[in-house]
Structure formats: structure tokens, C-alpha cells
Symmetry: C2
Subunit: 457 residues, 2 copies
């Protein structure tokens, strides 16, 4: 019999976040170590025409881009109608991947401080190929050996009879604009065992990861989303003060979900209006949003050595930002209840701004997304955090966003427009311990806050 | 600026639960008042052939049973594949109702005790027609006047600029075997205003409702599900002891969801295998599970006075039960992570037993659902709660279940089988304040516990 709430963990996480050096490599050596791991393997990614894909083809009837095994994922179509909001009904390609994957980070106390076992992992869509990743990052196809590759290292800590204590474990969505109802299991397990070392893995403190999150394209999306779910002391502190109570926040989310009637219909890719297929891409005539492309990959350190696969390539760099502001001395973030086609439950809490500016450049300034101009024009003295990060490099090619936390213009009125709400980082962190409240972009910024990458708010 | 957690509410709810009489009618007069309301109106429900439905018809292409407005709901088909578990792929009719409705109870302190405004509401599927219902029980079609009916009384407390404080507000699923991804907003609002009385409404304490929940078919499903979401002191007490911590419980739910790969494909009703249509029913040759039928309704107190509609009619009475057992002196309930075709997120926590025994009578005893025989044969001295309740009478005809809380055989091993877990009522109550963790049948039994209808566990 135990208490329902464990009380020691938030303090241990705070100590790890305060440790900007640890028992493993020095923080300023990690980038060099990653560069060394790139050289140790032979990594190469080339764009290829769809006809050169091996095992992937467009299905004759639907035009869906599928793998001959019927597993992994497929690129299909979707038609979306939202009954509120600025957008008329639209159709788009979307990745369909019903499998639930595992993003797992193994933790261990070394010299009294929690360390996390991070992997130097190649993903074909990353511009720099290799980034700091969770201990385990595997689709069900990976770990059930559909592709007949090598075993997934350290998987035994996360599946079956566990060899450790669970610190966090939650199903989370990924990019709702590109994935149809995708979910991954985000899990942190602590072990007391001696863990066999491997040359592609290193133990780092939370504070070290926080420092590395200040650098561009170094900590991958999968690591960021797992770290967003940490039970930090601010997430746990239900006696902390905030503009709205937790109950009011839940009620606001419920009201936002009930307000939007979103109809999502799956379509054959061949029937998606406004998109056409060339030998090398599925794309729009106006070049907006994204393209579906194909690559060939050579890699020495993945479960399989060489393969080809489709990727989604966004047509511009995103800008993803929280506005922050103090109320009664307490920092708050401005969340946006954002509808995305692929989200299971209509909408999730997103950063204040989450757009590729080029996609809106043709609009009148008044029709452009709220707060985008304020973020783009922010006085550098108001920027509390800024770095470029990549989205999931296993599915997206050069999908980069500039992530920011920006102090709001103190002259703007404190009451946000419909669909926006001021919440504390602790409230957002508490929601991120449950499924499908906080979207993947907001989780990146929350991980930066949890790990101490963001300056004082 | 306020504290994130409000602290006064659980105590106020406990006081209301302890008040078995209140400022309104005496508890033992409520059944008489309901009978009097039946007499005050002219209520009549008759079975009719589909051909006599007004505004409803089978669509020529799909065979779906639809309303000419395109609103309300439709009866369509669904094909389901679950990759774990005893069931081969199956197909079935299912209700498709994408609208989010409101189930709202208005609360008010009278003489220092919280009272709830309960309605005597007719629903055509209830055997006794009229039951105690939430203050507001309205689909979006209802309250946006698709059917050109009267205004929904007291709706203004729940929509738009609120005239009260929110005590609970959460989107919850309904029957996953009969509804495709249905959700209703379950909301409790407290007001300090004078509320204009109406003859079909009465103020009752939580304790009075608890006493009434011991009677058969008196408190309707919509009232029960709202009362399951109350922030009781046991739900809020994260320092209470339990067999598993809250974090372990969330991790177990995540693992159960990740373990099951469920594929649900919508089908035209005409193509659902194993079901056929007669002039009066869509049903199976073996008579199992349920039938789709049609009724004509005369009613004086609904928003519209007379109408026809389809209903789902289960072919037997259900048995829905929690096994309960003390660990370290603390009562626990045995929850089942139950996959249902229509649930948005694969599975929710269900009671230990939730079956119509007749549907399994043809199976060998070893193949029948776990714990069903134990509940059916339980020594009356081990029964802590027992009453017959109706499911949503607006969609289901004579859909009754015997709801029980039964002390587990002390001789059985404490480790439950895969898919089952012992949790405290407080832990279940905490989950019920979030969407889609606790299924509608488990919420009925949780409401009985919250309102004091269940004897000491």
C-alpha cells in the first residue's frame, strides 16, 4: 500500500535540472560526440523518384502510397470540415499510421542525481541526420521485426515485465496536420541496475539536456515530447496561484472541444482535390503547405542498414512561439485551442503561434494568424528562448521550426481573444501527464521549460 | 489570482451527500411526484414499422437509417478488428451522432447545503417513461432548434456567458457498443441566483439522490453520468493510500491502450454481415445483442409534442458489477480495461462485469466472460449495492441492467488477470474528472458511490 501521489520525484527532477554537468560527457562535448558518431557510421540520404522506392508503391485503385507488407505507414487522403473558424472545407494528403510506437527514456541515479540515457540516432529527415534521441524510439513494426532488422537496444526496460519504476507513461498525439490520429507512448523508466553501455548512448542530466536545447537541431522531437511529461514540482503544485483554477481550465478545454464540430473523412490519395502527383512529389500547384517525396537511406547504426521510404517535406520553416506574461507576479503562457485535422479529439492546446509564415503571406495582414506579426517583430530583449528544432526526422524532411518564448507586449489587453487562454507552465505540465491535452509543438516548448533551457519568465 | 485547486468544494459535496432530506420534497415523496408528473402529461409510446417513421428513412444507396434534415443521428454500420482478445472481426449496426450534447445539472446552496435541480423527464425508451434527469439534457439539434421545438429550459446557465461557477465540466463517452464515438458534455454549474421554479423540476440534495439511486429505474443515465464527475474529497485526496500509485494507474491504462490495435471501419448499414432488415427491425438471425426498431411518441412535456424515431433495443437485461475488496483496510474496485467498438480511444475503464448473460449462454462455461459467474452466484450477504437502471431512454428501448457492487470472494487470489486492476473509488473518481477514462457503466456505479447509495465497502 502506497500513497497515491509520490512526493520525492519532483525534487529529484529539480536537482537533475539544476545539474548542468553530470557523470557522463561534459555538456560542451556532446555536440562533438554527435559529430564523431556521424563520422563513425556511413550515413547518406538521397532524394529519389517514387519509381525507385523499394517495397513502396501507389495502390492501383486508391492511389494511396503504401508498403507491400501492409505495415509501417501509408500516405492517404483526408477531407476536413470545421464548422467554426476561418477555413472553408479542405482536402489534403495525410500519414496513416495506426500503430502505437514507443518513445522511451531510461533514467538512473548516478552520484545521487537522475541521469537520462540519450541516444545518438540517425533519422533521414534531419538536415544534420543525427540528433540526441530517447533511449528507445521504435514503432511496433520496429520492435516486432516486420523489417527483419536487429533487436531494438534497451527495449526490455519498456516492454513486458519491467526492470524499473515508471516515472511517466502517457499516449501522446503527434503533428495533427500531417498524421491521422497518430499516437506514441511517451515513457520514462528508472532503473537501479547496471545498464550495459553502448557507444551510441550517453548518460546526461536534465540540466545538460536543457543546455543542449538552447542549440539548434540537437535534441530531437521524440526526446522533447517525452521530457514534456515529467512530473515536475510546478506541475504537481496544485496550491500554486494562477489566473484560472485547474477546474476552470478543464472546463475551458471542454467548451472549446464542444464548440467545434469537425468532420474528418478518409479519402483515397488519388481523389484529394488540389494536389497532384509528379514522378518525384505529391504537391499543390501553389506550392503551399508540404510535399510528399521519397528518399533512399544508407545508415550503419539503424536496425536495418539501407532502405527507401516516403517523407513529408514542409515548404517553409515554421515559427512556433508561446507569448508569456506575468499576472500577480506569476508567469503565464498563452495557449491556443487549435483544431488540427488529424487529432483524435478535435483540438489540443498549442503554442500561441504555430505557423509557416509563407503559407499566409498572400493574405491581407488582417487575415493573417493572430499574434504572428507580434512574434516576428518582437524586440530581442523580450525573447526568453529561441532555437531551431526539427520535427520527427523519420517521417518529415527538413521540417524545422524556430521555437520561441516571447514576453508579450505589456501594452496589449490581458483578455485574450476567443480560443486563447493564459495558463501557468505548471498547469500545462499537469495536463501533459494525461493523453491528448497538449500538442507536440507545445510539448517541445514545455520540455525546454522543464529542462531549464528557457530564461526567467 | 487564485489557487489552482479549490479546497472548499469536496467538503460541501460531502455535506450534501450526508443530507438525506433537503429543502425540496421529502425523499420518499419523489417517486410519487414522478408518478404525478406522468399523469399530468399524456405520454404514450408505440412500436411502429419503419415505413411509418416520419422524416426517417433508409437511404437508397447505403441503407443507413437517416433523418431527412441530416441532423439528430443515423444508424449506420461498422466493421471492427481487435488484434488481441477472444473475438474474431465482427460487423454491427451502430448509432452515428457526431453532435456533442449537454448534460447539465444546476446546483445551488439552500440553507447552507448544496441542492441539485432535477427534472422529471420523459424518454421514450424507458419502461416507466419518466425518470429523474439533469436540469438540461439536450443535443445540439435540440438547443439549436433543428426540430423547431420549444426553448430548452435553464439552458442559459450552461451556454454562453455563464450565470454561475463551474463545479465540473468534462466530455464523456457513452455506450461504446452502440454509439460510434459519441461524446456529451457533462457539466455542473452552481448559481447564487433565484432560479425560476417550474413544475417539472425539484431541488434535491446529493444524499436524497443517493437514496433514490437505491430504487429501480428512478434516476436516469444522464443524471448518473454527471454525478460521477463530482470532485469528491476521496477523488481529491492524493495522499490517500492505494495498492497502486496514481502514476502506476495511468501507466497501466497507457499500456492497455498501446497493447490493443483496434481498427474500426464505417460501413453502409445495408452491407453489415449477419444482420438483416424486416419491416419492423434490423436484427440478427440468432437474436443476439440488439435490434434496431422504431417507435411513435406522444408527449406533452418535451420540446416537441409528438414524433417518431428509431431506437436500439437490447435483447436481454445486462448485469453490470464492480467486485470490491479491501487491501490494507482500504476498499478497492476491480476495473476492466474494456475495448468497445465505438470508443474514441480504444478502451475505457469499465466495471468488472458488464454483459448480457444471454449473449454468452451458448458458450462453454470456461469461455464465458470472467467474473460473470461469480457475480451471478454471489451470496446476498456480499452484495453491497443492487438496483436496476435504464440506459439513455432517448436512444435505447428497455435497455436495463442490474447494477451491483459485490464483495469479492475472499478466497480468490489478489492478483487479477491481464486487463483488470484494483483501484480505489477515489482514484476512479479522479479519472472521471478527465475525458474518456471511465466508461458510462462504470460512471453509473461511481455516481452511486459518490451519492452514498452504496453501503460500506
Amino acid at each position: 500500500m502506497r500513497r497515491r501521489a509520490e512526493t520525492g520525484l519532483p525534487g529529484r527532477l529539480a536537482r537533475s535540472a539544476a545539474a548542468t554537468e553530470g557523470a557522463g560527457p561534459r555538456t560542451d562535448e556532446v555536440a562533438d560526440w554527435l559529430a564523431e558518431r556521424v563520422r563513425a557510421h556511413r550515413f547518406r540520404v538521397d532524394r529519389i523518384p517514387f519509381a525507385a522506392l523499394d517495397g513502396w508503391s501507389f495502390a492501383p485503385d486508391s492511389g494511396n502510397l503504401v508498403h507491400r507488407s501492409g505495415r509501417f505507414f501509408s500516405v492517404e487522403g483526408v477531407g476536413v470540415t470545421v464548422d467554426h473558424g476561418p477555413f472553408p472545407p479542405w482536402q489534403q494528403p495525410i500519414i496513416h499510421q495506426p500503430e502505437v510506437g514507443i518513445l522511451g527514456i531510461l533514467a538512473k541515479e548516478i552520484d545521487g542525481v537522475l541521469h537520462f540515457l540519450m541516444q545518438a540516432k540517425m533519422e533521414p529527415g534531419n538536415r544534420n541526420l543525427l540528433q540526441l534521441s530517447p533511449t528507445v524510439q521504435a514503432t511496433r513494426s520496429n520492435y516486432t521485426k516486420v523489417h527483419k532488422g536487429a533487436d531494438v537496444r534497451y527495449l526490455e526496460y519498456f516492454l513486458g515485465p519491467r526492470r524499473g519504476r515508471v516515472l511517466a507513461d502517457v499516449l501522446q498525439s503527434e503533428h495533427g496536420s500531417w498524421f491521422l490520429r497518430k499516437a506514441n507512448r511517451n515513457v520514462l523508466v528508472e532503473t537501479d541496475e547496471d545498464v550495459p553501455p553502448h557507444e551510441d548512448f550517453r548518460w546526461l542530466t536534465l540540466g545538460q539536456i536543457g543546455r543542449l536545447l538552447r542549440l539548434d537541431n540537437l535534441v530531437n522531437m521524440d526526446a522533447r515530447t517525452v521530457l514534456a511529461g515529467l512530473p515536475t514540482s510546478s506541475a504537481d503544485d496544485r496550491l500554486a496561484r494562477a489566473l484560472h483554477t485547474d477546474r476552470e481550465l478543464l472546463s475551458w478545454i471542454t467548451a472549446q472541444r464542444a464548440r467545434h464540430e469537425v468532420r474528418v473523412e478518409r479519402l483515397p490519395l488519388a481523389e484529394v482535390r488540389g494536389w497532384h502527383r509528379t514522378p518525384t512529389a505529391v504537391e499543390r500547384a501553389d506550392g503551399r503547405y508540404f510535399r510528399v517525396v521519397a528518399v533512399a537511406v544508407e545508415a550503419g547504426s539503424r536496425e536495418t542498414a539501407d532502405w527507401t521510404q516516403p517523407l513529408i517535406e514542409p515548404t517553409g520553416r515554421g515559427v512556433t512561439a508561446f507569448l508569456t506574461r506575468r499576472f500577480g507576479g506569476v508567469p503565464h503562457l498563452l495557449v491556443h485551442a487549435r483544431v488540427e485535422a488529424g487529432l483524435l479529439d478535435v483540438l489540443e492546446l498549442a503554442p500561441t503561434v504555430q505557423y509557416v509564415p509563407e503559407n499566409y503571406a498572400h493574405l491581407d495582414p488582417d487575415d493573417r494568424p493572430p499574434f504572428l506579426a507580434e512574434v516576428l517583430a518582437a524586440d530581442p530583449r523580450r525573447i526568453r528562448y529561441e532555437a531551431v528544432h526539427s520535427e520527427e526526422g523519420g517521417r518529415f524532411l527538413d521540417a524545422e521550426s524556430r521555437y520561441l518564448v516571447v514576453e508579450a507586449d505589456p501594452g496589449t489587453p490581458p483578455d485574450p481573444p476567443e480560443g486563447y487562454l493564459w495558463v501557468t507552465p505548471g498547469q500545462l505540465g499537469a495536463l501533459a501527464q494525461h493523453a491528448r491535452y497538449v500538442n507536440v509543438q507545445a510539448r517541445t516548448l514545455l520540455a525546454c521549460i522543464n529542462a531549464g533551457a528557457v530564461g526567467p519568465l
